[in-house]
């Protein structure tokens, strides 16, 4: 009989071969009161792949991301991370899975009482206890350099701009070297130059780390730049899923309108 270890090894090999998805969302439903936000969504993301989730405001894009990382519980459906269904897992068990995931919040969600460097060091302090203080400092400097924030390690989050906060949030999300990266509106509220810089940064990270990523965005240009596949959501359903060219060739009215107005 195969042990849990054998199953995990087999799953990892299948993910590397591109046979098994790293993230598999099946028939996900979520309502808030009487409002149906997700109505039976199914999506999957393979290793080294970036899926951009697009759609109008309030169509449940961020809720989908929060369900994938276990911050919200779906009404029904399953979310498998590395082959394991995470729906209903206890908080500490979920913590083990979250160590393999990085999450960039829409407003960065930096800890406002900690400096930029302390924010990035936060996951390391809690999960890399074997690291010495100097090793941790080195790793934080390396992460901040990676996102172009090396000179700002002593600043407080309130003293830096929104774009810089997102960079720091990204550095924090990368601290534990995740296999899965979830980005909630990484370019929202940024000027075109900062947006472009964030996109370049995400592309660079994808090339170097081969993570499975889900990016929720309104920004079609950004989605086209950073994603291999796009999924367009409307009224809790996936209207279309495919490459940017697939979306362009679609004759679905909503897709045409979305592309025309974006």
């Amino acid at each position: 009989m195969a042990t849990a270890y054998d199953i995990a090894i087999k799953q990892e090999q299948s993910e590397k071969d591109g046979i098994a998805p790293v993230i598999a969302v099946e028939n996900l439903r979520k309502t808030f009161g009487s409002h149906m936000v997700l109505n039976g969504i199914s999506l999957s993301v393979n290793r080294g792949e970036t899926l951009a989730v697009l759609g109008r405001s309030g169509t449940g894009k961020s809720v989908l991301l929060r369900i994938i990382i276990g911050l919200e519980t779906p009404d029904s459906g399953s979310v498998c991370i590395h082959g394991q269904n995470i729906v209903g897992l206890a908080i500490d068990r979920m913590g083990e899975i979250r160590k393999k995931m990085g999450f960039l919040f829409q407003h960065a969600a930096l800890y406002d009482s900690l400096t930029v460097a302390e924010n990035v060091a936060f996951p390391l302090v809690h999960h890399r206890k074997e690291m010495s203080r100097s090793e941790r400092g080195e790793r934080v400097n390396q992460l901040l350099a990676e996102v172009g924030m090396k000179g700002d390690f002593g600043k407080m989050p309130s003293d830096i701009s929104g774009g810089m906060q997102k960079r720091v949030g990204l550095a924090r999300a990368l601290a534990l070297e995740p296999e899965i990266l979830l980005l909630d509106e990484p370019t929202a509220g940024l000027d075109p130059i900062s947006s472009g810089e964030i996109d370049d940064l995400i592309l660079k990270l994808q090339r170097e780390r081969k993570m499975a990523s889900v990016v929720v965005t309104h920004d079609l240009h950004s989605a086209k730049t950073i994603a291999n596949r796009l999924a367009l959501l409307d009224q809790g359903n996936v209207v279309i899923e495919g490459t940017f060219e697939d979306l362009q060739q679609s004759n679905i009215g909503f897709v045409e309108d979305f592309l025309k107005l974006s």
Binding site: I69, L71, M94, G95, R98, Y111, H126
Partner: protein
Amino acid sequence: MSNSGSIAVPAINPPHSGRRTELLSTAANSAAGLVEGFFEWFGNLGIFFWQVLRAAVTPPYEWRELIRQLDEVGSKSFPVVVMAGSAIGVIISLEARYSLSRFGAKSMFPATLVYSVIQVMGPIITGLVVSGRVGAGIGAELASMKVTEQIDAIEASAINPYRLLAATRILACILMLPLLTLVSDACGLLMGWFAQTLVEPLSFHQFIQDGFKGATFNTFLPQTFKTAVYGLIIGLIASFQGMRTRGGAEGVGRAATNSVVLASLFVILADVVLVKFILVVFP
């Protein structure tokens, strides 16, 4: 066809009965909603307490955050507890001297002051002062973290927020309340004696000897250590109110206010139960 010969039958129901029924129904629904809300709040508090308890007793332990919270709750409440304790000592001293003089029982002054401060006023005043300062602080801090998604960010970083944020704060309140009560009691006695001495000189040695005559540890220790329960109430309610906040700046304000009001109310209610319990268990 009109029935011209028949007599019109007056309506059985008065014209306003429909409206009255509607009002009664609305009132009944509101009352039901209030009762439901009351039980829902207690149910959620119970679930929250269970989650915190489970997180607190399983590793990893957040020692660093606990020490930070001990400083936040203990050291930073020190000045306000000293002032409140001193004021209570002076007030009791003034009142007791006046009342005892009227009944010709001035010799009872030291014992009256000692028992009033240590058994009654010291613990409850410390509980209320800490509930105001610390309860509002914890409620507002956690609520602000909640609405800015910082608590979600902690959870997304694979850290249990019940362990890091709630358990450490509650434990700090439980540990620091008895110590702050001792400080408050000491200040109350010292200032009470000082206020008395200004009017009628009394040596401190004599004051302590008369005040504690016949007292045992059972007389004072349960009264002091019952404040650990106040600490549990303050930490638990403030953390609960903070971590379930919704709705921006208004939500933060509401969480801070509710933390103070509910924590103070439950401290007073707990005192009623604890006084009776101590009288029965430590007669």
